[in-house]
Symmetry: C2
Subunit: 381 residues, 2 copies
């Protein structure tokens, strides 16, 4: 099930090896669009160019290469991103300012423009309908599997594809995520809705505390299916975003488990999210989950390093799954063996109740394993 | 070479196994003292009690157990820390408020007070001079080796012992560090000097971004060697603190390399330190150093995630050792093989010049290896 009017092509042009590395997604009509980009002070060239191109609130084509991030390349990088948009615009008969460029992969190498130019020539005839799953595969870097989800909202369909899987603690936006719908959305609704949902989903995940230079989430709504109920649509889009967020966390580099951290009883949502991020990002919590060790000591340590003056140790309760292990500042006698079994599952929930208010937050992450080290120590420049 | 008037005993009382686990350090005369404690919102019971006892600016004895951190134990934990000080006071004929308690090890278990009480009885007769190296061994947790350093300043001697080696990104103070001197210091000088030096040394290190519940640095000056030149003394104390800081980083859990990050060209010292911490804490930088991969892309990513609006990509320069790899926003052609060899050494320096001011900062950390994962995944509660 895919939204109407979104054609795509995914191919190999030999940027690094023989896997898919170049994707173009094309809406047959100009789409209302919004995007959120990384807050990194070292944004990639595609982010710099993409920010300019999305400014008018429209997009009609996305061009994405994997295996090379086009980051840290100075003026040459910018020129290459602009040229890529220009070629796509020519090939598809689209205003180049309605083309958004994306690159993901190694930092610090020049884009092989000869290969990209050659790969883009003639793409119009190669575009296919209902081809987004292949696009999800082509944008992968170290992801274990492609990430795709779609759902129906009234007459319309929403589809999303995403890639992880390392350098991931998004800030304001994240990763590469493309959300496409044939719903007709009011202009004023698009960007605020995207921001709300990104803050509740992609901005609530962290694989390794590192923030990519290339994080971007794009929403394109081409209107071909007509109007939808906005509340219902936002619910559907939340479902897509939450699914992709969890899949990104679950498939983090080297990960064996999805970790969900639920913080409640906070004074504000910001506080709840800060504490939850401290827990989900702690390498000692992550390794304890990997080792199936119900070590709540590391959880309270992580809550403590929020350095939040309103956090009161004597009011804090910690749970693994449904089992309280630490209640209002003191340990609870537990069946350690049962807890070890719980932590051996592929999804683990750590609950923290701060006991000082009514706000809550949920974030997602993964365990930290030897696999993460191997993947990143031996990823040679 | 040890300062006069500091006696100590280090023994095993069976808290977990047969290694040294209980230490008492005793100054024969009351010493001027200052301490800096963790900013964690989940401080251990010894931190809570120690803060009260140091408030008058004096200390005469330290009692330290390893293998159990006495953290997260509610009122019982506080009572146990107070009782420990009372017993030490009785045994040594010292005001219990001049005794500082410390515990390090697993979080969330009750201190075995029977064993500690029995171990403390009769310690007066067990105290030895020039025994601080054994104390350095007894306070270890997952440290690979004891950390001890001393130096002479005029007529006086400064000695320091410290333990790492995980849950270490100190905040305002760090780890367990005991600095002892027989210099006579003016009352008003002790605390400000300690704060200055801690900010330049222990607060500039990070093993794993986690902040211990038990971090404490104590300086005791018993005055037995008489007055010293203050500037000279501070220089000596800096030498001790810097040595211990580097040893802590070098011996981080699973570490194979000491990483020094030098940031210069910043607008303020705070900015320089923030950027340096972003680099030294990035798991992707740490794994690249482990894998001897001269991947400056990960360094600029880490600079970018400082989210500092005044950082300008086109002004940033990155060095590995003496070799520029990225200059004012663009890559520099380099001999990759030579860089790989440089990164294969046991000490690696990453330099970042922000190019926007004159302030600088230096921080220390270590690489991230499979050893860290193994040590912390299989450390069973």
């Amino acid at each position: 099930m895919q939204p109407q009017g979104f054609l795509s092509v995914a191919k190999n042009v030999g940027i690094k090896d023989e896997t898919l590395d170049l994707t173009v997604i094309h809406s047959t009509v100009r789409a209302r669009a919004a995007a959120m980009f990384t807050r990194s002070r070292f944004p990639g060239a595609p982010v710099i160019v993409g920010r300019r191109h999305i400014a008018n609130g429209f997009a009609q084509a996305l061009v994405i290469n994997s295996k090379n991030a086009n980051v840290g390349m100075g003026k040459q990088g910018i020129d290459n991103a602009i040229e890529t948009c220009r070629i796509v615009g020519e090939e598809l008969g689209v205003d180049p300012y309605d083309v958004l460029p994306f690159s993901t992969g190694v930092i610090g190498r020049a884009l092989p423009m000869d290969k990209i130019r050659a790969g883009l020539r003639g793409i119009r005839s190669q575009l296919k309908l209902d081809n987004l799953k292949l696009a999800a595969e082509a944008i992968m870097t170290t992801d274990k599997y492609p990430k795709y989800f779609s759902c129906r909202v009234g007459p319309a369909v929403i589809a999303g594809i995403a890639k992880g899987a390392g350098m991931i603690e998004p800030n304001m936006a994240t990763l590469l995520v493309y959300l496409m719908t044939d719903a007709e959305l009011p202009r004023a609704a698009v960007r605020p809705m995207l921001r709300r949902l990104v803050d509740r989903t992609f901005n609530c995940t962290s694989i390794d505390t590192d923030t990519s230079t290339s994080d971007t989430v794009v929403l394109m709504a081409n209107g071909l299916a007509g109007k939808v109920k906005l509340g219902q649509f936002e619910k559907g889009l939340l479902e897509v975003c939450e699914y992709l967020t969890k899949e990104i966390a679950r498939s983090g580099e080297g990960a064996t488990k999805l970790i969900t951290v639920d913080v409640k009883g906070a004074k504000t949502g910001t506080q709840a999210k800060r504490v939850a991020k401290c827990v989900v990002n702690s390498p000692l919590v992550k390794t304890a989950v990997y080792g199936c060790d119900p070590n709540w000591g590391r959880v309270i340590m992580a809550v403590g390093k929020s350095f939040d003056p309103s956090v009161e140790p004597t009011k804090v309760t910690v749970r693994f799954g449904d089992t309280n292990v630490f209640k209002k500042g003191s340990p609870v006698e537990c069946d350690l063996e049962a807890l070890r079994q719980y932590l051996g599952q592929s999804e683990v929930v750590i609950g923290v109740d701060l006991g000082i208010g009514k706000a809550s937050a949920r974030v997602w992450g993964c365990d930290l394993t030897e696999g993460y080290i191997k993947e990143n120590a031996y990823y040679t420049t």
